[in-house]
Subunit: 348 residues, 2 copies
C-alpha cells in the first residue's frame, strides 16, 4: 500500500498476476470437477484459491480470484469458458439490438463477490486484497468476436464503422466493470486493478478517442472509495501516458515486458503532465514470464534489473511479471523470485 502511494517501503512488495491459478497443484486439486465459471461464483472456492498463493509464496498481496467475463455472466450474458479455448459468447454482440442483451449490473447480483471478499479479508489480516476487473475494451473484444481472437478484426471494425454503437457498448461495459470493482472494495478489498489485456492492438489515436473515456468511467466507480487503482495492459508502450492519465490519474501503472520500468514511469508521467495532472505514478510489472523457464543464474540478474529499474523509476514500485503466470510455471521458481525480491534492499 505504501508503494502504491509512491513511498519507498522497507522492502519492495511483490505479487504475480494470475498467481492464483493453474500453475499451483493445490489450485488444480481445489478446482477438480468444478467448471471455471462455477468456481468463480462459489465463495468458499474463491476464498481458498485466492489465499493459496499467499500461503505458499508469502506474496504481499492477494488478487481476487475471478475471470474477466464473470461480471458479464453476473449481468446475464449467455457465455461460458471452454477449457483450452477461453470465453465463448453464445451470440456475439454486433448490432444495436444486441445491446438489449447487456443489462446494467447491480450490487444485488454480486452477493457471491461480497461474501467471498468478506471470507478472504477475514483470513488475510494485514495483507491487502486487490480487486480485479477486465476493462471495457477487452470485455467488448470477447463480446464482439464471440471468443478469443488474435487480430480483433470485428471489434476494431465495429469501433470504426459505428462509433455511436461502440460508445454505447463500452459505456455499458464500463458500468458493469465499475460495479464489479465497487462491490469488491465495498466488501473490503484494499486496492483495484483494471486489466485491459488486448488494448495494445490499438493506435494511440483510437485508444484516446474510443477507449480511454470508458476505462476512466470504470475506474471512476471506485474513485470516492479512496483505494489505489492500477491500470494494466500488454503491448502498451505507446499508450502508457494515456493509461496513466485516465480519470484524473491512476496510482499504479502496469508495464509489460517490452519496456524497462523507469521508461514506463517516464511515459506515464509525461501522459499525466500532458493531461495537466500534477501527480506521480508508481509502476508495477515487467519481468518477462518466459524468464521463469530460464536457469536461476539467468533469472536472478533479470529480477535484479527489474528491481533496479523500479527504483530508478522513483515513484513507487510493486514487483510483478509483465503478464500473467503461465500455467506451466514451476511454483518453486516463483517462490524463489519472491524471496529474492524480499531480500533486495534498494541501493544495496
Amino acid at each position: 500500500m505504501q508503494a502504491t502511494r509512491g513511498e519507498v517501503a522497507d522492502r519492495v512488495p511483490v505479487w504475480f498476476m494470475r498467481q492464483a491459478g493453474r500453475s499451483l497443484p493445490e489450485y488444480r486439486a481445489a478446482r477438480e470437477g468444478t467448471a471455471m465459471l462455477d468456481s468463480c461464483r462459489t465463495p468458499e472456492l474463491v476464498t481458498e484459491i485466492t489465499l493459496q498463493p499467499v500461503r505458499r509464496y508469502g506474496v504481499d498481496a492477494a488478487i481476487f480470484y475471478s475471470d474477466i467475463v464473470v461480471p458479464l455472466k453476473a449481468a446475464g450474458v449467455d457465455l461460458d469458458i471452454v477449457p483450452g479455448t477461453g470465453p465463448v459468447v453464445a451470440q456475439p454482440f454486433r448490432t444495436r439490438a444486441d445491446l438489449d442483451r447487456l443489462p446494467e449490473l447491480h450490487a444485488g447480483q454480486l452477493g457471491f463477490v461480497t461474501e467471498a471478499v468478506g471470507l478472504i479479508t477475514a483470513e488475510l489480516g494485514a495483507t491487502p486484497l486487490i480487486g480485479f476487473a477486465g476493462a471495457p475494451f477487452t470485455l467488448a473484444s470477447y463480446l464482439v468476436e464471440g471468443g478469443p481472437s488474435r487480430d480483433l478484426l470485428r471489434t476494431k471494425a465495429l469501433m470504426h464503422a459505428d462509433p455511436r454503437l461502440w460508445h454505447d457498448l463500452l459505456s455499458r461495459l464500463a458500468q458493469i466493470t465499475g460495479e464489479f470493482l465497487r462491490a469488491q472494495v465495498a466488501a473490503g478489498a484494499s486496492a483495484v486493478q483494471l486489466f485491459d489485456s488486448w488494448v495494445g492492438a490499438l493506435s494511440v489515436a483510437d485508444y484516446r478517442a474510443l477507449v480511454a473515456p470508458h476505462s476512466a468511467q470504470a475506474l471512476a466507480a471506485v474513485r470516492d472509495l479512496g483505494v489505489p487503482r492500477t491500470h494494466f495492459g500488454t503491448g502498451t508502450g505507446e499508450l502508457l501516458g494515456d493509461m496513466a492519465a485516465v480519470d484524473g490519474g491512476v496510482d499504479v501503472l502496469g508495464v509489460d515486458f517490452r519496456l524497462p520500468l523507469d521508461e514506463g514511469a517516464r511515459r506515464g508521467r509525461e501522459g499525466l503532465l500532458a493531461a495537466g495532472l500534477d501527480r506521480g505514478v508508481a509502476v508495477q510489472g515487467n519481468l518477462d514470464p518466459a524468464l521463469l523457464f530460464a536457469p536461476w543464474d539467468v533469472l536472478r540478474p533479470a529480477v535484479h534489473r527489474v528491481l533496479e529499474a523500479g527504483e530508478a523509476a522513483g515513484g513507487g514500485h510493486v514487483f510483478n511479471l509483465g503478464h500473467g503466470v503461465p500455467p506451466s510455471t514451476d511454483p518453486d521458481v516463483l517462490h524463489r523470485v519472491v524471496d529474492e525480491v524480499h531480500a533486495w534492499r534498494a541501493g544495496a
Copy 2:
C-alpha cells in the same frame, strides 16, 4: 522501385501483404485439392497465385507466393502446414542435438523457386516482383514452439537459458533465409522483404543482442545484388530504429497499424543515425486491416491519412496494410483502396 529509393514517384505505389491468398476466389479455386506446402513448391501454381492480385487489382508489385516455412521444408525439416492451425513441426527444436536436423540450404534445393520466379517475371513485364522470406527469429519461434504460439515462452526461455545454442540456431536460420532470398533475386526478383512477424514480443535489449545480428546476416545475403530491402514486423514500435539499421541500413521500413508512418520514419532515421548510418529510409504499411471491414466513408479518410503521413515521412512511401490481408476481406474493397491510392496526388 523509385519509392524504395526515397524518390517521390508520380503516384504512390501500392501492394498488400498476403495479397495472393485466401481472400481471392480465384486463389481458392486454384488451390482446390492442393495442400499449402505442395502449392508453394509447384512453379505453375506459384506463378498463377502470385499473378492473380496483380491482374485483379493492378497493384504495383507482386509478392512471391510462399510460406514462411517453405525454406525450412526445402532444407529438409520435417514439418507441415495444418489448415486452421498453421505450421506444425514434427519434432520441436530445443537442444543442441536438434541442430543436426537443420542443415544448410543450397541453391540446388530451390529449383522450384528459380523456375517459378522465371515464369512470374516473364509475365509481369515492368511490374516488380518482391522476394519473400521469414526472418530467423520468427522461423525459430515455429521450430522451438513446434507450432504457432501466443506468448513464445519456450522460444524466449531458450534464448535466455542457452544464448550460445540460440545464436547457433539463428545463424543457421539466417543462412537458410538468406539463401532463399538470394535464389529469388538471382532468378529475377527486383526487391526483397524480410518478415519478422512475431518480433514485437521482444524488448529492445533482447532484440538488439539476440536477434538483429541474424536478421542482418539474412539480408546481407542479397546485399551485393543491389535490390531494395524491406524489413517488417508487427508490434515493433520500440524496435523500428534497430530494424532500420540492420546490415548497414534497409531501404524500406515496414510499420504496422499502431504508429503513424511519419513517426515510424522518424524512429527509423533515429536508429540509422544512432548506428552512424548517414542515409534515409522509406516507409511502407500502416493501414489497419480491420478498416477493410468498415464502410467506405470511414475507410477512405483512413487511406488518406496514411497517404498524408507517408508524404510527411519524406523519404519515400509504399502504400500497404499494417499486416497481411485477412482471409475474409472482400476483394472489391481492396480494389477500391488501390484505385484511391492511385488517384491521390501528393499535396493535392
